[in-house]
Amino acid sequence: MKDVEMKMLERAKQLLESGEVARVIGWKKGEFFYDPTPASFETVDELKDFVYDWFCGANLSKYLIQMSKKEGKTAVFLKPCDTYSFNQLVKEHRIKRENVYVIAVECLAKLNIEAIKEKTDGIVKSVDVEDKDVKVVTTNGEYTLYKPEVVLSKCAVCNKTHQAKDEEIILHERPERDVNRFEEVEKLEAMTEDERFAFWKGQLSKCIRCNACRNVCPACSCVKCVFDNPHSGIAAKANDSEFEEQLFHVIRAFHVAGRCTDCGECSRVCPQHIPLHLLNRKFIKDIDGLYGEFQAGETDEGKTPLTSYTEGDIEPKDVFNGEAK
């Protein structure tokens, strides 16, 4: 990963020095080594904080909504999953494509620090990855973890490839693999209604309505959001009504149905560890099963399943659990 980071840094310097771009969007050092933060770099000097490591899970696409409207070009480093969100936002006319220079960067899955902390004892001091082994040093000793067990939930079943790029920095090819991202959804579908209800009630009761999932979601980019109360006097924090408050997750899941690229950011940022991606994946699975395979963000044009129809579509009463009776 260090060699890729060097290459990226070098390229970012070049672009800024030559004046080809006005700013570069990437990740910078956070307070701890495991929490790099998305950042915009406008000078070569600022690039000293630039990082790209095993913890750069954040999706940078959404920042481009603002950045692509600024003067000058914006260069951005996008991982495979980020490019789907990017395409989707271009398609929805939220990003000015001509103002963005996309540099596709390799990603061999990103690590989940919460999972690492759970599996180790003491304060994490360093994390190193060697193939499938994650070597963790903590104040209480050294641990070797199996990588697939400590990656982000979105990375565990990822098989995405770059969908948009102007150039690429890929030093290590990721091997093709056979994954089923609907496994967890299928497990839930196999339960009874009561079990499912108990599961979701338990999960959603943990919600503190911090809005992190909404704020990070690239599909949730409306300027005016239904969940905000325009008359509250407190910007973007007070909820609109009891209704929106109580059914927040259902409404949000439907709002992004057919547009969700399954980037998994909602689950990554949830401070309560609610598996929010399972809500969106249900829609993706249903759409795939009922209206044909569709991956949002694969292209930056064309119709989405909910804005199109065919005359022979299945009747709602014949659909349950995504299978035609």
Partner: protein
């Protein structure tokens, strides 16, 4: 003095029916003028087209205490606005499947196509739906998804 009845009141469900102006609402009208009965606890909300029904309308109805929600529109192909009900069909198929995924009984939601000439069908559909929902009992699940029971 009035006697206090100790008998348990029979459960009468609250049903919300979204009917499109051109077919189903006229169908309900025909049912009325043909003297065909349908339960009085069906509250009809007239909408210009079934595709006017935003999924949040359905959710809001449930959150406000509806025990069942039914959508009625023109038969596919007969929409007054040509394609409106095709969109409804996709939307509601996904929404209802999703609600079931969250543990809401699938019998509480329904989409039926009723034309302006089908007064008898309107009455039959409503009678059947009310019967189904009455058997299910009160809707307790879709009022507030975020609070654990007993809290």
């Amino acid at each position: 003095m009035q006697e206090v009845s100790t008998e348990k009141k029979e459960f009468v469900p609250n049903i919300v029916a979204f009917c499109c102006n051109w077919c189903s609402y006229a169908g309900a009208d025909l049912a009325g003028s043909s003297r065909l009965s349908y339960p009085a606890n069906v509250k009809i909300i007239r909408v210009p087209c079934s595709c006017r029904v935003n999924p949040t309308f359905v959710l809001k109805a449930f959150q406000q205490g509806a025990d069942g929600v039914i959508l009625c529109g023109c038969h596919p192909g007969d929409c007054h606005y040509v394609t409106g009900n095709y969109y409804t069909r996709r939307r509601m198929a996904l929404l209802f499947s999703f609600l079931n995924y969250m543990g809401i009984e699938k019998e509480r939601t329904r989409v039926e196509w009723v034309s302006a000439a089908e007064g008898a069908r309107f009455s039959a559909v409503m009678n059947d739906f009310v019967k189904t929902v009455t058997a299910l009992g009160e809707n307790k699940r879709l009022t507030d998804l975020r609070v654990k029971e007993g809290e």
